[in-house]
């Protein structure tokens, strides 16, 4: 039993955090909102060079061959800065999905190109009605029933749908499945899509931890500076307790998220339930951080100018992605309410 990250994993987290906090500022995010793609090719290349984009690509295809446990803390940091780039889905969904396919030229070539930063792939899962970052992708991984299709991206086939979060670039895609684009089907395809959903949900959960922490930090800073009645508003207990409540929820969402990452990386038979628990806990912490964070900012919290909304909106937007609340609760219910359920003391780490 070892529920800790390695020195290396923690050091990598630290260096990625330093990089992201410097490069992805709220000013740079706001500047990207005004651009056509909303994305920075330069930043993406930097992420490629740091090895982040290819982290979960197998070594044979030029990646680092790492897993969800290695990446989960980094996904958390992506949330902390509200990174607009589609890094988390690329690393946690696209690469593992492609890598899980049987060896083929198509598979190997796209993985290689991804890791080298020569191509990007967006993913459309049936649980997400719209595809994130379809517009900067060279190819789309799309679901048709149980089939996995890799389709060349065509601008004329997609339509932008604006999100509450101006950094999100969502698209509906018109396409018709053809035998030539099908990479997997039947039970194998079904399992791949289920796996993709679990990885996508883990990505949301990890980012939500970072978002919640950022909203706490912004709120603590603001309430320490803003004065009313002759003192900082952060000295009032009602304000303190709003933030303490977020801190408690966040503290108890972390371990479920890290456990879910471990279970996915180790193909644990209950990984799906672990992911659902993690996603519910982490998104709820982020939603509470948004609610209480806005509250303690007063009217400032209701403005476009103050940075709070950048993170609040990401939290709201991600909440319904990769399986909504009802989907994940249903999975938990199935696990908890069945006969001879593996619940109660001594069953948490049952193999």
């Amino acid at each position: 039993m070892d529920f800790t990250f390695t020195e290396d994993q923690l050091l990598f987290q630290e260096s990625v955090r330093d990089f992201l906090v410097n490069e992805v500022t709220t000013e740079s995010i706001r500047a990207l909102w005004e651009t056509k793609t909303g994305r920075s090719d330069e930043l993406w290349q930097q992420l490629v060079e740091m090895g982040l984009v290819g982290m979960t690509v197998p070594e044979a295809q030029g990646g680092l061959g790492m897993n969800a446990v290695d990446f989960v803390l980094l996904a958390q940091e992506c949330g902390y800065v509200a990174l607009p780039e589609n890094l988390v889905e690329t690393v946690l969904v696209v690469a593992p999905l492609l890598a899980a396919l049987p060896e083929s030229d198509v598979r190997n070539e796209w993985l290689q190109k991804m890791a080298a930063g020569e191509a990007r792939i967006a993913v459309g899962h049936s649980r997400n009605p719209l595809v994130s970052d379809a517009h900067t992708a060279d190819a789309w991984l799309l679901q048709h029933n149980d089939e996995v299709h890799l389709v060349k991206a065509r601008k004329k086939n997609m339509r932008r749908n604006e999100s509450v979060d101006p950094s999100r670039r969502l698209h509906s895609i018109e396409w018709a499945p053809k035998p030539a684009t099908c990479l997997a089907k039947g039970p194998a395809g079904k399992a791949l899509w289920m796996q993709a959903l679990n990885y996508g949900a883990l990505g949301v959960a990890a980012q939500s931890l970072g978002l919640a922490q950022r909203m706490i930090d912004l709120s603590v800073k603001y309430t320490s500076e803003r004065q009313q009645f002759g003192k900082p508003i952060g000295s009032f207990q009602a304000v303190k307790h709003h933030m303490a409540n977020v801190a408690v929820q966040l503290e108890y969402a972390k371990a479920p998220v890290y456990r879910a990452a471990w279970s996915l990386a180790n193909n644990h038979r209950h990984a799906g339930v672990h992911v659902s628990h993690a996603k519910i806990a982490a998104t709820e912490a982020a939603l509470l951080a948004a609610r209480n964070g806005i509250q303690v900012h007063g009217a400032m919290g209701y403005t476009w100018e103050v940075d709070m909304h950048i993170f609040a909106k990401r939290a709201w937007a991600l909440d319904g992605a990769w399986g909504d609340r009802a989907f994940h609760k249903t999975r938990v219910a199935k696990f908890v309410l069945k006969d001879n359920a593996l619940i109660g003391a001594s069953n948490t780490f049952v193999a």
Binding site: D2, S224, G234, S235, Q237, A255, A345, A351
Partner: protein, 387 residues
């Protein structure tokens, strides 16, 4: 990261499981807030100690097994899973014991720990006073030095188990001119000493679960001081740290409550589902108990690699106490019109213990530092908000 038990850990689990199967009393013991029940629980402590299961984290020479925190968590899981009796001496073994090991002299450890381990001496905590509750630094009970003795005068209150316990530990003002958390000293006082009056206070269930203690010129030898004179606050904070931290409420207790709640819900599902909130609350009970367990394991692993418990331990106390309240409130909701029945009422039909648990859960957000105080600590020390 490796979220699986080693073979040794699994073998350890089976060893406890077997022992408990053969030793846990088949018939539940009476409440330890009755005289007869207290004696039964004291006997159970002796049985546990004989099997060397009394305090597994203690060193072997004190009757323990020198277990690490993970093994302790495994022990607790098996202990609760087997429906074993509550620990009448938890103030001693979980709170004073660790404090003694850190601050006690060799003589004190030899004198106190073995009898604590066998249940021969049961301990009560004596911090609170009528005018020093949340504000513990307002303590006024005095201990005046007289040669090689302290002479204690004053009053303590809300002292759990004090009605039948043998000893108490607490803080007293040794410097009459001192204020707040200065000039306080940690002293161990036998409850049968001359000049002590213990007045039982009935709790919500009507039983005297705590008591007031009056001190009238009680003479205690200086050897009963723990730590230096005037250093009481520091020593006491170590105890409070254990209490809030890992030891007081191990996750297994809440996991078993969550499991029983799921059972109760499934047995009464048709009627329970008339209120759609119930199912939601039942699922949350499992998720939150699971989150508490995972987080505790994470902390235990961090501590065994040399990490320290910080201000985030205040989140722990809030989380378990509120989880416990929510679970019991949900049970009451499922039981509907039967919820109000005392355990022995004929129509309670074996579900009355939920009421006991519900009543006790009301106190979890109050004792060991109220949740409001914990929220202040989180905001100021963990988040760095202004005082």
């Amino acid at each position: 990261m490796e979220l699986a038990y080693t073979e040794e850990q699994q073998a350890f689990r089976l060893q406890i499981r077997n022992w408990l199967k053969n030793h846990v009393p088949k018939k539940p013991l009476k409440s330890f807030d009755t005289e007869a029940g207290f004696a039964q629980h004291r006997k159970w402590e002796a049985t546990l100690n004989k099997g060397r299961w009394g305090m597994v984290t203690w060193p072997e020479e004190l009757g323990g097994r020198g277990c690490d925190l993970i093994e302790w968590l495994i022990f607790e899981e098996e202990y609760y899973r087997a429906g074993s009796p509550a620990r009448v001496n938890q103030n001693g073994i979980f709170l004073l014991g660790p404090t003694l090991m850190e601050y006690g002299t060799e003589e004190q450890k030899k004198r106190i720990l073995p009898k604590m381990a066998t249940g021969e001496e049961v301990w009560a905590q004596a911090w609170s006073e009528p005018n020093a509750g949340s504000d513990m630094a307002a303590i006024r009970a005095r201990a005046d030095r007289d040669g090689d003795h302290y002479v204690i005068n004053g009053q303590k209150t809300w002292s759990t188990r004090a009605v039948y316990a043998d000893w108490s530990f607490g803080m007293f003002r040794t410097d009459p001119n001192s204020e707040r958390h200065h000039g306080l000293t940690f002293i161990l006082v036998p409850l049968n000493a001359e000049g002590i009056t213990v007045r039982p206070i009935p709790q919500l269930d009507g039983l005297p679960g705590f008591a007031e203690i009056f001190f009238d010129n009680v003479r205690v030898p200086v050897e009963n001081r723990l730590g230096d004179e005037g250093a009481g606050w520091k020593v006491a904070m170590a105890t409070a740290g254990f209490e809030r931290g890992l030891m007081l409420r191990s996750p297994a207790r809440f996991q078993e409550t969550a499991r029983r709640l799921v059972e109760l819900y499934r047995e009464n599902q048709e009627s329970a589902d008339r209120d759609p909130m119930v199912r939601e609350a039942v699922l949350r009970a499992w998720m939150d108990a699971e989150a508490y367990t995972l987080t505790t394991y994470q902390t235990a692993c961090r501590l065994s690699k040399g990490g320290k418990i910080g201000a985030e331990s205040s989140t722990n106390k809030i989380f378990w106490s509120e989880l416990d309240q929510k679970m019991h409130a949900t049970a009451m909701s499922i039981l509907g019109a039967r919820a109000e029945l005392l355990p022995h009422a004929p129509a309670a039909q074996g579900v009355g213990h939920w009421l006991d648990g519900f009543l006790f859960s009301q106190s979890g957000t109050i004792y060991a530092g109220t949740n409001e105080i914990q929220r202040n600590i989180i905001a100021e020390r963990m988040l760095g908000m202004p005082r």
